[in-house]
C-alpha cells in the first residue's frame, strides 16, 4: 500500500525550487523585497517539507543536526566579524565604508555579508527547533 508515491514525487520536484527561491530572495534583497530573514525561513521550510514527507532520519542524513547548530552560531559570528573587520581596517564598528576601495563598494560588500550572516543563522535556528520538536516523542514532560 505504497500510495505515498504521489507525495514523494511532488516533494522531490518542489523542494529544489524552494531552496533555489530562498537563494533568489537572499541575493535580490538589494533590489526588491527580501533579505536575510525571509530567505532563511524559506530555506528552512524546504528542508522541513522534505523531513515531513520522507522521514526525520533521512532529513537528518541530508542536513545533520550538527550542521544546523553550527549554522546557527556561525551566522552571528559572521555578522560580528564584519564589524570587527571594519574596526581592524580603520573605521568604526560595523562601518562598511572602509571594507573596500570605495565607500559604495564597501557598503555593497558589507550588506551582502551581513545579510548572508542573518540568513545562515535564521536557517540554522529554524531547522534546529524543528529537529528538537520532532525528535521528542514523549506524551508528557
Amino acid at each position: 500500500m505504497s500510495d505515498q508515491v504521489i507525495l514523494r514525487v511532488a516533494v522531490k520536484i518542489i523542494v529544489p525550487m524552494i531552496l533555489l527561491y530562498a537563494l533568489y530572495v537572499q541575493f535580490h534583497g538589494d533590489f526588491g523585497p527580501g533579505g536575510g530573514f525571509q530567505a532563511g525561513v524559506i530555506f528552512a521550510a524546504g528542508i522541513i517539507l522534505y523531513g515531513l514527507v520522507f522521514g526525520l532520519r533521512r532529513a537528518q542524513k541530508v542536513f545533520p543536526t550538527w550542521v544546523a547548530r553550527l549554522m546557527a552560531a556561525s551566522g552571528v559570528l559572521l555578522y560580528a566579524g564584519v564589524g570587527i573587520a571594519s574596526l581592524l581596517l580603520g573605521g568604526r564598528y560595523l562601518d562598511y565604508s572602509v571594507l573596500a576601495h570605495d565607500p559604495h563598494h564597501g557598503q555593497h560588500y558589507g550588506i551582502l555579508l551581513v545579510e548572508l550572516g542573518v540568513m545562515i543563522t535564521v536557517c540554522g535556528v529554524m531547522i534546529t527547533i524543528f529537529y528538537f520538536f520532532a525528535a521528542r516523542g514523549r506524551e508528557t514532560l
Binding site: 505504497s2 505515498q4 530572495v25 534583497g29 538589494d30 533590489f31 523585497p33 527580501g34 533579505g35 530573514f37 525571509q38 525561513v41 524559506i42 528552512a44 521550510a45 523531513g51 515531513l52 520522507f54 522521514g55 526525520l56 532520519r57 533521512r58 537528518q60 543536526t65 547548530r69 546557527a72 551566522g75 552571528v76 555578522y79 560580528a80 564589524g83 564598528y93 560595523l94 562598511y96 565607500p103 559604495h104 557598503q107 555593497h108 558589507g110 550588506i111 551581513v114 545579510e115 550572516g117 542573518v118 543563522t121 535564521v122 540554522g124 535556528v125 534546529t128 527547533i129 524543528f130 529537529y131 528538537f132 520538536f133 520532532a134 525528535a135 521528542r136 516523542g137 514523549r138 506524551e139
Partner: protein, 232 residues
C-alpha cells in the same frame, strides 16, 4: 476604496481572533492562527510594507503553524476543563464568570482607545516621526549606499547594530529551545551519538494521528490494522 479593503481585512482579523478563542478543538485553533497570520500579511501588503508582509507570511503562516502542529502531535488536540475537588464539592473551572477582570480590561482598552484620538493622522507628512532621521534615510540612501531597496539599506547599514542584536536574539531562542527540549541522547554500539532515535516510534503514533501517515514510512512502527476485506 482602500479604506474598504482595510476595513474588511481588520474585521476579518477580529473575527479570526475571536474564533481562536471560541473554538475548543486545538487543531482548529492552530489553523485559525495560521489564517490570522496570513490576513495580517495581507494587511501589511495593503499598507505598502512588502518586506514585512513577506516575513510574516513565511514565518507566521509557514513555520509557526508547522511547529504548533508538531506540538499537537505530541500533546493531543482536545481541551479539557479542569475540575477542582474540594472535599466533597467538585466545581468545574469554566462555570465561574469573573466580573472584575473583564471590567479592568474594558476600562484599560477604553482609555487606550481614547488616547489614540490624540495621535497624528496615519501617514501624515507633518508627523514628528517623519521629521528627524526618516527624511535623511530616504534622501541620502541612494547616493550614500547605492542600493535601490531602502528597507534593506536601513536594516543592514543605517541600523546594522540593531539587526545584529536581532540575529543574536534569534540565536538565543535556539539555545533556549535546545536547553528546554534536549531530547535523550544515547551512544550506540559504535560510540556514535544517536539523536533521539529511540523515541521516533512514539512520535510516529502521534504523528499518524495528526497527519494520517507515519513520519518515516521505512520504520517498523506500530502495526496498522490489516485490510479486513469488504463487509461481505
Amino acid at each position: 476604496m482602500e479604506l474598504f479593503i482595510n476595513f474588511t481585512l481588520l474585521a476579518l482579523l477580529a473575527v479570526t481572533a475571536l474564533g481562536v478563542l471560541h473554538v475548543t478543538n486545538l487543531f482548529a485553533a492552530v489553523m485559525l492562527a495560521g489564517i490570522y497570520s496570513f490576513l495580517s500579511a495581507g494587511l501589511f501588503t495593503v499598507m505598502d510594507a512588502v518586506d514585512v508582509a513577506f516575513t510574516e507570511a513565511a514565518v507566521g503562516a509557514g513555520i509557526s503553524t508547522v511547529l504548533m502542529l508538531a506540538t499537537l502531535a505530541l500533546v493531543g488536540s482536545k481541551v479539557t476543563t479542569p475540575e477542582f475537588r474540594i472535599e466533597s464539592i467538585s466545581v468545574k473551572g469554566r462555570s465561574r464568570r469573573p466580573l472584575l477582570p473583564i471590567v479592568v480590561v474594558v476600562f484599560t482598552g477604553g482609555i487606550l482607545a481614547y488616547g489614540t484620538l490624540d495621535m497624528p493622522g496615519y501617514g501624515d507628512p507633518d508627523n514628528p516621526v517623519h521629521q528627524h532621521v526618516a527624511p535623511h534615510y530616504l534622501e541620502e540612501s541612494g547616493h550614500e549606499i547605492g542600493i535601490p531597496n531602502v528597507v534593506t539599506s536601513v536594516l543592514a547599514s543605517y541600523r546594522g547594530y540593531d539587526t545584529m542584536g536581532e540575529t543574536t536574539v534569534v540565536f538565543t531562542a535556539a539555545v533556549g529551545v535546545m536547553i528546554l527540549l534536549s531530547a535523550l541522547r544515547r551512544r550506540d554500539s559504535y560510540g556514535e551519538e544517536a539523536w533521539g532515535d529511540e523515541v521516533i516510534d512514539d512520535m510516529d503514533v502521534g504523528f499518524k494521528d495528526a497527519f494520517g501517515e507515519t513520519m518515516d514510512p521505512g520504520l517498523a512502527g506500530p502495526e496498522r490494522e490489516g485490510p479486513e476485506g469488504g463487509g461481505g
